[in-house]
Amino acid sequence: MNKRFLTHKQKEGLAGYIFVMPFIVGFIALTGGPLVFSFIASFTNYNVASDMEFIGIENYAQLFTADQIFMTALWNTVYFVLFSVPLTTLGALFLAALLNQDVPGMRVFRTIYYLPAVLSGVGVYLLWMQLLDPTTGLINIALGWFGIDGPNWLFDPDWTKPSLILMKMWSVGGSMLLYLASMQGISKSLYEAAEIDGASGWKKFIFITVPMVTPIIFFDLVTSTIGAFQIFQEAYVMTSNGEGGPANSLLFYNLYLWNKAFEAFDMGYAMAMSWVLFVIVFVITIFNLKLAPRWVHYEGGDDK
């Protein structure tokens, strides 16, 4: 065998590929296949068990021309994204800034604020259903102490989505941790220099802390936007029979998609819906990426 069959560089490259193999194989076999299949099946009347006839763009045409519920579901989801993403991002950022102070007992506070991120899933939703109960829930009882007559939260279509956004705010601990880690890495000399110049705490936050954590803000924005578009569980668990709440106010995109797929068995239609969502999220993400260089600051980076 020829010892120089591969150069050192090629060998390194090969090793790299081998290390990413598990992902590539997983992606092709477990994600790529179904992805392609769902794209093809979105042009059919696929129902899993028996039918799979090509019907052209009928599913897509129906979505945009005839399906009122589709528009409701899309609007509900966009509403949720528009409010929950900025609020949770800002919330996490401020929380991290607070928890980055040098006060005694900070570890305890950090633990307390991070705890909700550890709890997850259905248990939390059930807990929140009790918290949000109009008469016996803690939230309205607490509001009552200040003379505020709390809303009907999950029973009033105007308040159902704010209820979920409030719930999301409670669990910002996860992204808070990212901000906190990033803030701890900011060089003290920057703050010292600012202090010599007489900068206030707020100015230091705005002109040093925020720019230095913009990569994390960017990452958080992109991932939480994608995540918010995919909201499903919350509505599925917190509405009766997973139907989407009073007056369809919690019928989110993925919940409607799920109902179409597994209640009406209209799998082709559901797949078309998932591709529409994919395109929406894709466009927004590209937009985000294009916009990023204007405001995201990479320390020691070369403007990329």
Partner: protein, 440 residues
């Protein structure tokens, strides 16, 4: 050279692991099952969502009894949670390796027949003779184009529960529950008890326990959408019913209604059990809650009152069927087991242990006499089986299986005061008609 070899081995190993995955199709079978299969015993894979402490032992006992009664078929019971079981089943059908018997929702049996998710039992049996053993309404719900796609297992029925002591207290005859909507309203007003602005007892509220759709069914004697997808929502009578339902909320006040509603979730604080609610519509097996949490409650049970004398006491029921998913590899054995499951012995056992109305008529009637029930238990069970003649199911039409997603929000908006009953019904009617059109 050496590292190249190593990577080659690693690569080969990875491929082996992946190809190994292909051999996992029988991965869920135990050695014991494989051994049984070699002896010629047919394995029937049986999926239910009955995993609770009360239900699991009951179904396991039925399965064990069947397995002991013969030696050709071995039924293996697996529990999947309520939220998962049917999506898993569908995935398994799609993958071509489904279980052999699954418990599924009776109201969508015809739909699954049409979609090709279930095997036609009529095709396996060659006839529909088995239908004799079931309540006809239940059997009907399993048919698609004259062929049955599931054997009814259990059902339920909505009835009026009323507090006899409260009746007596306000001078009503405890043996004469309301028979019409007018009486219902009259009695409810008598049973209301207020201390200042707060209600200490509410006589009745129609939307606790059942939805608006049950009242529409009670009025019309049938669902507002039939099997062909003909919709009859936008009628004057239906609008009247919706307005009647809303008038209760308006009279009691939204706050009172909402605060009472929250109490239903706890067994101890349940308004009917604590005497804060005079009458309510509930599933007949609500009795088990009374039995367990308010054993001293002096209550009666009656059919849902009729709209007008002679209109009929129509009630609504649901239930479950046992069915064979498409692609099962032992449909005959599966059917044998399903016959056992729906025969008198197993059904009586289930009925008595679970206080469920079972689909097998003879078993339901036997259970009503069971010595294992208390006097109250027998009274309720008997009233429940008698109520079956007024009880209709609402199988989903195959042309609009998700019609309710269009109707419920419109009615919600009406109840919230955002549109009139006529508008709500008209919008819902048009939306469902459009869906039917789209699917035809």
């Amino acid at each position: 050279m050496v590292s190249w070899k190593k990577t080659g081995v690693a690569l080969g190993g990875a491929l082996l692991m992946l190809s190994g995955c292909a051999g996992f199709t029988t991965g869920d079978e135990t050695e014991e099952e494989t051994a049984l299969e070699e002896e010629g015993v047919e394995i029937v894979d049986f999926w239910t969502f009955w995993g609770s402490e009360t239900r699991r032992p009951i179904i396991d006992k039925i399965v064990a009894d069947f397995n002991e009664s013969q030696d050709e078929i071995e039924v293996v019971h697996s529990y999947y949670p309520w939220g998962d079981i049917w999506t898993k089943e569908l995935a398994a059908i799609g993958a071509g390796d489904p279980p052999d018997v699954v418990i599924n929702d009776i109201n969508a049996t015809a739909l699954r027949g049409m979609e090709g998710q279930a095997e036609s039992l009529t095709a396996i049996m060659g006839n529909n003779d088995i239908s004799e053993r079931f309540y006809p309404e239940l059997w009907e719900a399993t048919l698609y184009e004259g062929e049955s796609y599931g054997l009814p297992f259990n059902t339920d029925t909505r009835m009026l529960f009323y507090n006899k002591d409260a009746f007596e207290e306000v001078g009503l005859d405890p043996e004469a529950p309301p028979a019409t909507w007018a009486e219902l309203e009259e009695f409810a007003l008598m049973l209301d008890e207020k201390a200042g602005e707060e209600y200490e007892r509410i006589g009745f509220y129609p939307l606790w326990g059942v939805g608006y759709d049950v009242w529409l069914t009670n009025l019309n004697g049938e669902n507002y959408i039939d099997q062909e997808g003909n919709v009859s929502l936008a009628t004057e009578e239906n609008a009247e019913v919706l307005n009647w339902l809303k008038s209760w909320r308006d009279r009691l006040g939204a706050d009172t209604v909402d605060s009472f509603k929250a109490k239903f979730e706890s067994n101890q604080g349940h308004p009917f059990l604590s005497g804060e609610l005079g009458m309510m519509i509930a599933n007949m097996n609500f009795y088990t809650q009374i039995r367990d949490y308010a054993p001293d409650l002096n209550f009666g049970v009656a059919p849902i009152p009729e709209y007008e004398p002679g209109n009929g006491f129509t009630s609504w029921g649901g239930g479950f069927v046992a069915e064979i998913p498409k692609g099962s590899d032992s449909p005959e054995a599966a059917l044998e087991f399903m016959k056992y499951l729906t025969d008198v012995e197993a059904q009586t056992y289930w009925a008595v242990q679970n206080f469920d109305i079972v689909a097998n008529r003879e078993a339901a009637e036997l259970a009503a006499q069971s010595e294992e029930f208390s006097e109250d238990g027998r009274m309720v069970y008997e009233a429940g089986t008698e109520n079956m003649e007024h009880t209709i199911l609402t199988p989903v039409p195959t042309v609009a299986p998700d019609f309710y997603t269009l109707v419920n929000p419109e009615v919600d908006e009406f109840l919230l005061g955002e549109q009139t009953a006529e508008e709500a019904l008209q919008n819902a009617q048009e939306a469902v008609e459009a869906l039917v059109e789209q699917n035809q």
